[in-house]
């Protein structure tokens, strides 16, 4: 049986960090007024940059939120010994539909389910 060098705490922490990153991106803003920058050219450049990266940020934000959810699910799997196969956990992380199979163990300590 394939074993993973992962534990519940790692998955929980990764999920939390991903969610925090998504939220940080959501809050992120740049100064775009000439009153703040002191110069309209610089304000325009910042506005242009913000527009250029908006799509990338929004897409990454959504992907981070989805990945955070997937990591939390994967962490929960570690609470159920009969579901701890590498494929099962990986499938959850990859976001694919999961059909439980196998009973491989994680090699790391189990520190509790993600909440």
């Amino acid at each position: 049986m394939a074993q993973l060098d992962l534990d519940t705490a790692t998955l929980v922490a990764a999920g939390a960090d991903a969610r925090a990153a998504a939220e940080a991106l959501g809050w992120h803003d740049l100064p775009r007024s000439a009153a703040l920058t002191g110069d309209p050219t610089l304000a325009d450049a910042l506005e242009h940059q913000a527009r250029a990266w908006t799509l990338t940020h929004r897409a990454l934000e959504a992907e981070l939120a989805a990945l955070a959810h997937a990591l939390r699910q994967a962490a929960e799997v570690f609470d159920h010994a009969e579901l701890r196969s590498a494929d099962h956990v990986a499938a959850l992380v990859a976001g694919a539909p999961v059909r439980p199979h196998g009973t491989a163990r994680g090699t790391g300590p189990l520190t509790g389910a993600a909440r």
Partner: protein, 708 residues
């Protein structure tokens, strides 16, 4: 500009620093998340399953995007921090200057009032005492000192404002470099840092500034070129993205002026455009190709020089979209130009560069020269093959004929019926335009002739029919689908769709492209390959053709096939220039090797950027010996002598193959020769088949040749 004279400088360093701090914290969050995700990717290492691979790919992708966004945020924060510091410094300097000015103005006012008071007090006495005079003088000196101090403070305020402006523009440039998310994604994805991206972008923007200065006359042509040469030589893809984001080809033409490009500058520009293309989208590539041509001046002094620069910008190593778009723009110019001959001559380097680009991209050549719209195809065939500068193309027609050959060889070999149809229709139209256009101009080289011959090679199967069916009227360009019977006479044809060729124009094309023994030899090679393939189809591969695995046909079909092949090659042979034939036959074997197959096209195009003057000097040119053009001497005896030797040349192969097949089947040789007498090179049937087309095209050639 928001700043008002001698008021505090606008802007909030604290707010900027606050935003910079927030961006840094966001970047740290992203880095934290990335670190965790990288840990998960590592934990998945060593596991082998599709699910694990998918998970690793997903997490790895998110980690990379986090890294990119964090890098951009950190770079933004760094720029904002730096700008906040400089803004704060200049605001303080400006505030001090304002305070000094206010103080000086107050002192000036005070001493001016003091001087007025003393003057009023001493007025009744008519003559002031020495003490009063001294006081008056002192007050006036103080006024002057105060005014000078005010002026100095004002100068200091303006210096601070200008420094702030410079800092703002520096910051803006730095931020603008971060705005091309796609280019940066590619750059950072290849392992480079965001900071390196910013540096490359800054260098590209600075080079664009040199172009602006040269256009405005602020930089001399020589020093500007020298600076550009150095900057271009060190430019990477980011540099060129920044440069072309800020500069149009037209602006580059204007900056470079009338002096010819030196070889080194041409080289670095050409190399740079290719580097830029590696990170450009298809839309950007097409827009660039259009702008290279549209940016040329309409006409007049300087157009030739601009065309030379444009040719460098259209390196054959660029993707085909660039050349297709440039070709379209070139066609628009030709259709709207007021002086067609001058336009063709002055923009010749562009035409050659575009055609070389199409030659290097056969599919783009087919798609552009032979679009699905028949009317458009006809128009493009006229514009590309029906026109040439009065003195001929500077490259002797090699690029344009190369584009034709590339398009046709790609289309005729394509399994898609649509491609074959477009290719055949292109040749049908080109046949009508070439004799009075490109081939009528002086100086067509052997390589150009060879390329024309190769463009017709897939269509030799209809040569005989076109000549026999010619009824004196010009045939309209069209196509036809040939029947492909297993093992039958058409089995050797790759191109199922064939053109309807006008026999008069076809003979003219062959005649005009066989004026030296080298060129005539290529046409003989075209005939030989076709004939060999037909025999392979009929006699079971003895001749080594592509249909080598087929079962032999029955005798009647073999006879029919041999005669059909003779009729087709007879059409070529008759159209060739007679007095070049003897030498052509002797040298044809050598030449065939030089222009055979894909290497003929691939080896012939100059794919690296080169000065416009050298475009067209190709590797393949060196393979075809330079020979004096033939002077037409249509001596009947020569024609007849050639007929006999050429007929035997082709017919003997079929006759030998047939006898060999019979002997192999157990028939005695003498009996076999008798049995296959119809294929004897001197038999009435064989002579009739060959001369049916040979005599007609030989006559047509003489008639058309005499008219020239």
């Amino acid at each position: 500009m928001l700043d008002v004279e001698y008021e505090p400088l606008t802007g909030s360093p604290d707010a900027l620093a606050g935003h910079a701090g927030a961006a840094t914290r966001t970047a740290e969050r992203l880095d934290d998340a990335r670190g965790r995700l990288v840990g998960i990717v590592r934990a998945l290492d060593g596991q082998h399953s599709q699910a694990v691979a998918d998970a690793r790919a997903r997490v790895g992708d998110v980690a990379e995007r986090l890294s990119l966004c964090a890098g951009v945020l950190r770079a933004t924060a760094s720029t904002l921090h730096r700008h906040a510091d400089r803004l704060g410094t200049e605001q303080v300097a400006a505030a001090l200057a304002i305070a000094r000015r206010d103080d000086a103005l107050r002192r000036e006012q005070h001493w001016r009032e003091e001087a007025d008071r003393i003057r009023l007090e001493t007025l009744p006495a008519l003559v002031p005492t020495p003490a009063e005079s001294a006081q008056q003088h002192l007050a006036e000196v103080r006024v002057t000192e105060a005014r000078d101090a005010a002026h100095a403070a004002e100068a200091e305020w303006r210096r601070a404002r200008d420094a702030k402006r410079t800092a703002s523009l520096d910051a803006a440039r730095s931020i603008e470099a971060l705005a091309d998310a796609r280019a940066m994604g590619r750059f950072v994805g290849s392992g480079e840092s965001v900071a390196a991206f910013q540096r490359g972008w800054a260098r590209g923007s600075a080079a664009a500034g040199v172009v602006d200065a040269m256009r405005a006359g602020d930089s001399s042509s020589a020093s500007g070129r020298s600076r550009l040469r150095r900057a271009f030589a060190a430019g990477d893809a980011v540099f060129w993205s920044a440069f072309w984001a800020a500069t149009t080809p037209q602006e580059l033409y204007q900056a470079l002026g009338l002096d010819p490009l030196d070889e080194e500058l041409a080289r670095v520009i050409g190399t740079g455009v290719v580097r830029w293309s590696t990170s450009a989208t298809p839309g950007e590539l097409a827009a660039f190709g259009r702008s290279v041509v549209d940016g040329l001046m309409p006409t007049g002094i300087g157009l030739s020089e601009q065309s030379a620069v444009a040719a460098v910008l259209l390196s054959a190593a660029l993707p085909g979209q660039v050349h297709a778009a440039a070709a379209e723009a070139l066609e628009r110019r030709r259709e709207s130009g007021w002086n067609a001959d001058a336009e063709l001559a002055w923009t010749a380097p562009v035409t050659i560069a575009v055609a070389n680009g199409l030659l290097a991209h056969p599919q783009a050549a087919l798609d552009h020269l032979a679009p699905a719209d028949d009317e458009l195809l006809a128009r493009r065939a006229r514009l590309w093959f029906g026109l040439a500068p009065p003195d001929g193309w500077p490259d002797a027609g090699e690029a344009v004929t190369g584009a034709l050959a590339a398009a046709v060889l790609f289309g005729s070999r394509s399994p898609a019926r649509g491609d074959q149809t477009r290719s055949a229709l292109l040749v049908a139209h080109a046949t009508q335009h070439l004799p009075g256009g490109l081939l009528a101009a002086p100086g067509t080289s052997d390589l150009a002739s060879a390329r024309v011959a190769r463009a017709y090679e897939p269509y030799v199967p209809v040569f005989g029919e076109a000549v026999v069916d010619a009824d004196g009227e010009r045939a309209e360009p069209g196509t036809r689908e040939t029947e492909r019977r297993p093992g039958g006479p058409s089995a050797s044809q790759r191109a199922v769709v064939q053109p309807d060729l006008d026999a008069f124009a076809l003979v003219d094309v062959i005649s005009a492209t066989s004026t030296s023994e080298a060129a005539a030899g290529v046409w003989l090679g075209v005939g030989d390959r076709y004939h060999d393939a037909m025999l392979a189809a009929g006699f079971g591969g003895a001749s080594g053709g592509e249909s080598g695995g087929h079962e032999p046909l029955d005798r009647d079909l073999q006879d029919l096939l041999a005669q059909e092949a003779l009729r087709d090659v007879g059409a070529i042979a008759g159209a060739l220039q007679a007095d070049t034939m003897q030498v052509a036959r002797e040298r044809q074997g050598t030449l065939d090797g030089a222009v055979e197959g894909a290497s003929f096209l691939a080896g012939a195009v100059t794919v690296h950027a080169a000065p416009a003057v050298s475009i067209g000097v190709t590797a393949a040119t060196g393979l075809v010996p330079h020979l004096t053009p033939d002077h037409v001497a249509p001596v009947k005896e020569t024609v007849l002598l050639n007929e006999q030797s050429l007929r035997r040349r082709y017919a003997e192969a079929a006759y030998s193959a047939a006898i060999a097949a019979e002997v192999e089947g157990g028939m005695p040789a003498a009996r076999a020769a008798e049995r296959r007498a119809a294929l004897d090179p001197d038999s009435a049937a064989t002579r009739g088949a060959f001369r049916q087309t040979y005599d007609l095209t030989a006559d047509l050639r003489r008639q058309l040749g005499d008219n020239r």
